[in-house]
Every structure is written in structure tokens, then in C-alpha cells.
């Protein structure tokens, strides 16, 4: 996966709470192979229907960052929603909270999710609405988001997630280093709870 270190990009404010993965990638595109260009399906219906998703407005051309409201990416576990964002050029989403599965899918595809307090995210959105097309700078190693005025906002991130993103690590290879622990565990479980393997 593509490593993530720093990103300076145009940021789009989305004043919508509970943006779910059905909106990010409508279900009818799920049967497409990744090679079909998932970026074409990003917010496919919402960006046509509502001004709340201004991805097609001129100042936001080439945007790389979204700043949203609470519970971004809730709903379905479809990783296609993350493919659509990444293939559509978005490398970072900033919000007060995220759907759990979305956040973990994001980390596995080089998409950084930054959690900021509700008021901080709201202030950032207000600023981006006042200056449409303004850029933010996200520095993952330093754990800061720098607003258009140049002030740096710190954020927290799980240290392992950070390392995987910065180094672009593949999880399976890391897990297979624990092959012995897995085998030992499985032998013990088979003796203690044999019903775990269905009859």
C-alpha cells in the first residue's frame, strides 16, 4: 500500500453528519472490479443530488482532503467506499468520529482518518467555507493538521496504525511472524473446546 507521510491538498468541507458508505459508494457499483475506476463512483448519487457534497464545484478541483461531521463512514463494511475515496484522489478524511469498520479499512488502504474534537472540526469547516479551495497540510509523523492560516492542530492516532500508514506495511506478513503462537493456540483450543470446529 502507498505510504502516507505528509499531504498538502485542497480540502472540501462536508457539513453532513452520519455520511454512510452507501452514500460514498452506492451499492450498485459494488460488483465492479477495482480496475473499473472506483473514483468515478465516489459520492456518485450525492454529488449530483445535493450541494452538501460540493466535489464538482470549481474551487475543489483536485481536492485531497475531506473535513466532515460526526460518524463519517458509518454503515456497511464495504471497503469499496475507501477505494472510491482513494481512487478519487482523497488521501485524508478529518471528522469528529468515524465508523469503526470504515476507519480500519481506510488504514489498510493508505487513507488517513484524523479524529478532531467536534468544535475543532466545525471551525475548520467554517474556515474552508469562508475560503473555498483553501488547502490544509497534514503531517502524519508530526501528527498535525495545519489550517489555511498556518496554525497547527495536533491529533492523536494509534501508534501501530501510524506505523503501518507511514511505512505502507502489509498486515498478513506481520501476522505470519506469529505462526507458532497461532499453531500452539489452535492445538490447545481443539482440546479444550472441540466444538469450535463444526461437526
Amino acid at each position: 500500500m502507498q505510504p502516507f507521510t505528509t499531504l498538502q491538498a485542497v480540502a472540501v468541507p462536508l457539513d453532513v453528519a452520519n455520511i454512510d458508505t452507501d452514500q460514498i459508494l452506492p451499492a450498485r457499483f459494488l460488483k465492479k472490479p477495482r480496475s473499473a475506476g472506483y473514483g468515478n463512483f465516489l459520492f456518485h448519487d450525492e454529488r449530483r443530488r445535493s450541494e452538501a457534497v460540493p466535489l464538482d464545484a470549481a474551487p475543489y478541483a483536485g481536492a485531497g482532503i475531506l473535513v466532515a461531521d460526526r460518524n463519517f463512514g458509518c454503515g456497511s463494511s464495504r471497503e469499496g467506499a475507501v477505494y472510491a475515496l482513494v481512487d478519487g484522489g482523497i488521501r485524508c478524511v478529518i471528522a469528529p468520529s468515524f465508523g469503526d469498520i470504515f476507519a480500519s479499512n481506510a488504514a489498510k488502504n493508505g487513507l488517513l482518518t484524523v479524529t478532531l474534537p467536534e468544535e475543532t472540526a466545525a471551525a475548520l469547516r467554517a474556515r474552508l467555507k469562508a475560503e473555498p479551495g483553501a488547502s490544509l497540510t497534514v503531517d502524519l509523523p508530526a501528527q498535525t493538521v495545519t489550517d489555511p492560516g498556518g496554525s497547527a492542530i495536533p491529533f492523536d492516532i494509534d501508534p501501530f496504525k501510524k506505523r503501518c500508514l507511514v511505512e505502507g506495511l502489509d498486515d498478513v506478513a506481520l501476522t505470519l511472524e506469529h505462526a507458532e503462537a497461532i499453531a500452539a493456540y489452535e492445538a490447545r483450543a481443539a482440546a479444550e473446546a472441540p466444538w469450535r470446529v463444526p461437526g
Binding site: 452520519n18 452507501d22 448519487d45 445535493s50
Partner: protein, 468 residues
């Protein structure tokens, strides 16, 4: 020193940790890995890395999301949809996985099928590339949805790195009112917690009202845990659980079943176990419930009215309410019972089990539906049971269609869509914009409430209509 009291989650979690990292992440053993047609991305990743499935005997593939709900005699006409169904069969065959395909008598929605076949057992970890895997927690299992990269990881390692979630106990004591069902309870819980209110937590549903529910009702409750943001929801196993499991095809048998039950009896949370959060609801105060907006958190008693954004002091929230009302085509102050519907859908992993169909048929018996509708049983066994009881005849006589098992109009990817602009009374779990089709409007409710709406053609308080 006596051992620290532990929660149900603690016990299942501790029993599955194979290794821990210095940062606190645990390598969790996975007991059941369920796949559906959407897993083609994960198989692609596995093949790309030239890896094999570590435990095919713990992996089960089910065709449900794309299968047709009508006429299964011929080939599936849409080539892309046909390809999804046959790709799953091919991937399962190639890797030696048990596959429940279209021609299998047990075929059904993965979250209906696995409990029914005895694949879901107390104390197990169950994952699937589907967010409603929370359903399986009804047995006291830890079930949660994962993304495609994680599916590939489980295929290759039968394990997942996870951080121990926080716990939130939802206590519901008291007696549910007449015609108030598990669906109303979970909608009320989601309204109380908010759509993101339980992010990072595992919910444990407890209290006398939960213990009084059948397995069907418990499955409905746990199913929608994700709609409050929780990745999993759990209910302690008890005699209701064990009675449901005994004799199921994949459940342990004979002496092994007895041994398993003895172990399962030790799973419920200990007296004095500490939860990170606790919420309580009074069962008697829960009314038949419907949603008005485009998030499950917009659930209200059916006796209420469409809320007014003008009364909301936070301008961002008021704006979001206006956007929802606009999408739903609703005017503030309209009584919910005055909202006319265009169609009903009874089905989905939330409400397509036999008890759900009985409840809907109880309302529809001898009645004519005022709007078109579709009833889709959750599995082959549910379908045959319903037919043996004559429920299909009740639905057909009322003018509703009787479908073949699958996800159908819950997500519409098999082609069963709610037409744009139409309003659907639906027993599903998501009312998101576009969920049942572009510009479709969804109101979530229980099977009895959906049946009542079918009879009157508008949202209806089932208590007024009576029935069964």
C-alpha cells in the same frame, strides 16, 4: 484474592487472544469466517499474494446479496449479477470451502443461515465482510463485520489484530407493551444512543425484557448494533439459546453438546463485572416505533409527529434535519400516522425469520394490502416452514409477492429496487439515502407495523389496528 469479575465480552475475548503487541493490539483467533458474493476483492488479494486459506473447515460461503428473489428456474439474466454469484461458487470450490449456493436447500441470508445451521455458537468469534455480522452476538458470540483487506487476512491466517473494545451495557427491564417487538426495542435504543453513540464499544443487551425474548428477537436486536456505531452486540447465552441450538446440523451433538453447554453456562457476565458505560431503558415505555429520516437514529414512537428543525438550536443540526426532511419529502409537524406509503418490504437479516413472518401474517390474514409489496423469507428453511403454516398464502391473498430467500430489497443489488421518489415501509435496518434505490425513501419498522402499513396504505400504529 478472588478473581476479577469479568463481562461476557471479556470472557470471549480472553479465550481468543493468541498474542499481544506492545501497543496493546491482540491477535484474535477467528472461529467462523462467513463469506458472501462481495468477497471477490479478498479472494483477489489472496490469489495476488499467492496465499492459501488456512482453515477452510472454519470458512463458509453463502450466496445471498445478489441472488434473485423471483424465478430461479433459469439463468440469472443480468450478466454482472450472474457473475457475482458464480464467482463465489468458483472461489469456494477452488479453495475447498462449504458453499451454500442457489441450489442448496439451506441457502439464505448469511446472518439467518449461520444461526439456523448451528454454525453460530456461544463463545465463538464470528467474522464476515458484512457489518451486520453483529447479529451473531445473540448467542453470546463475538460477531463483527470486517472489510475486504481483513477478509483476506482472516482467509490467510484465521486471525485478526484487534484492540479490545470498550463495553456498554444496555439494560432493559420490565415488560414490553402489546405489539411492541424486538425491532421497536432496538430502534428505541439507537434513538437513545445516536447513530455513532456506541462507536468503539461492544454492546451487551441485558435485563428481563431481553431475557424474555426468543432467539429470533435477540437476533433482531443484535443485528442493528452497528446502527448505533457498535461493531458488535452480545446477549448472554441461556436455556433459550441452548434449546435453539440443540439438534442443529453443525451444532455439537450428544455428549459433546452437553460439555459445550456446561462451558457456555460460564459465559454470562459475572456479578459485579465493570462496564465502561451503562444505559437503561424502561421496556414498558417503548412504543411501536418508526423512523422519519435518513439515519436509524431518527426513530420515534409512531404516535409522534415529524420534528421541526426550527425548534433545533444548533444550526448545523437544524440544517442536517432539513436535508433529511427534503430527501424524505416530509413537512414538519405532520403526524407520522398521516404519512402515506407506496410499498412495503418485509425481509432482510433483521426481520425475515419465521417469527417475523408469523407476526406480519397475523396482521394481514383476511386483509387486502392497499399498496404493492414483497415478502422475502431469510432462508430456505424459513420459506418452507412458512409455506407449511400457510403464511405464503396469507401474503399472496393480501396481494403481496412471496420471494425466494436473499437480501433482496434491503440493499437492492439483485435488482429489487424501490423506485425513485417512492416511500417504502420496510423491516430492514438502514434508511440511508439511496439505500433501497436511488432517491428511494425508507421508513424502518417491525414486521407487524409494516403489515399494518400495507393494510392502511400509511404508517399505522399497530395497536390501533389490532390483529393477532
Amino acid at each position: 484474592m478472588p478473581p476479577q469479575p469479568r463481562t461476557l465480552l471479556d470472557k470471549v475475548w480472553d479465550a481468543h487472544v493468541m498474542a499481544t503487541r506492545p501497543d496493546g493490539q491482540a491477535l484474535l483467533a477467528i472461529d467462523r469466517h462467513l463469506l458472501h458474493e462481495g468477497s471477490f476483492h479478498a479472494f483477489g488479494m489472496l490469489d495476488h499474494a499467492d496465499r492459501k486459506i488456512r482453515r477452510p473447515e472454519l470458512t463458509f460461503a453463502v450466496a445471498d446479496h445478489y441472488v434473485p428473489s423471483r424465478d430461479r428456474a433459469g439463468p440469472i439474466p443480468d450478466p454482472e449479477i450472474a457473475n457475482m454469484v458464480s464467482m463465489l461458487a468458483a472461489n469456494a470450490g477452488r479453495h475447498g470451502i462449504r458453499h451454500f449456493g442457489l441450489d442448496d436447500r439451506a441457502q439464505g441470508i448469511v446472518h439467518v443461515l449461520a444461526p439456523e445451521q448451528g454454525l453460530t455458537l456461544p463463545g465463538l468469534t464470528v467474522v464476515c465482510g458484512d457489518s451486520h455480522t453483529s447479529t451473531h452476538g445473540a448467542f453470546g458470540a463475538l460477531g463483527f463485520g470486517i472489510g475486504a483487506t481483513e477478509v483476506a487476512h482472516v482467509l490467510a491466517t484465521q486471525a485478526l489484530w484487534q484492540r479490545r473494545p470498550k463495553t456498554l451495557r444496555v439494560g432493559i427491564d420490565g415488560v414490553l407493551g402489546p405489539h411492541v417487538t424486538a425491532k421497536d426495542v432496538i430502534l428505541a435504543i439507537i434513538a437513545a444512543l445516536g447513530a455513532g453513540g456506541a462507536v468503539g464499544h461492544v454492546l451487551e443487551y441485558a435485563g428481563s425484557a431481553i431475557r424474555g425474548l426468543s432467539m429470533e428477537g435477540r437476533l433482531t436486536i443484535c443485528n442493528m448494533s452497528i446502527e448505533a456505531g457498535a461493531r458488535a452486540g452480545m446477549i448472554a447465552p441461556d436455556d433459550t439459546t441452548f434449546a435453539f441450538l440443540e439438534g442443529r446440523p453443525y451444532a455439537p451433538k450428544g455428549a459433546l453438546f452437553e460439555r459445550a453447554v456446561a462451558a457456555w453456562r460460564r459465559l454470562p457476565s459475572d456479578e459485579g463485572a465493570r462496564f465502561d458505560r451503562e444505559v437503561t431503558l424502561d421496556a414498558g415505555a417503548i412504543a411501536p416505533t418508526v423512523t422519519w429520516g435518513t439515519s436509524p437514529e431518527t426513530a420515534l414512537p409512531v404516535t409522534a409527529a415529524v420534528p421541526d428543525p426550527g425548534a433545533e438550536s444548533d444550526p448545523t443540526k437544524a440544517g442536517q434535519m432539513r436535508a433529511m426532511l427534503d430527501y424524505m419529502g416530509l413537512t414538519p409537524g405532520t403526524p407520522l400516522e398521516a404519512i402515506a406509503i407506496d410499498r412495503v418490504f418485509i425481509g432482510s437479516c433483521t426481520n425475515s425469520r419465521i417469527e417475523d413472518l408469523r407476526a406480519a401474517a397475523g396482521v394481514l390474514r383476511g386483509q387486502k394490502a392497499a399498496v404493492p409489496g414483497l415478502v422475502v423469507p431469510g432462508s430456505g428453511p424459513v420459506r418452507r416452514q412458512a409455506e407449511a403454516e400457510g403464511l405464503d398464502q396469507v401474503f399472496r391473498a393480501a396481494g403481496l409477492e412471496w420471494g425466494e430467500p436473499g437480501c433482496s430489497m434491503c440493499v437492492g443489488i439483485n435488482g429489487d429496487l424501490v423506485p425513485a421518489g417512492e416511500r417504502c415501509a420496510s423491516t430492514t435496518n438502514r434508511n440511508f439515502p439511496g439505500r433501497q434505490g436511488p432517491n428511494a425513501r425508507t421508513h424502518l419498522m417491525s414486521p407487524a407495523m409494516a403489515a399494518a402499513a400495507a393494510v392502511t396504505g400509511r404508517l399505522t400504529d399497530i395497536r390501533r389496528l389490532g390483529g393477532r
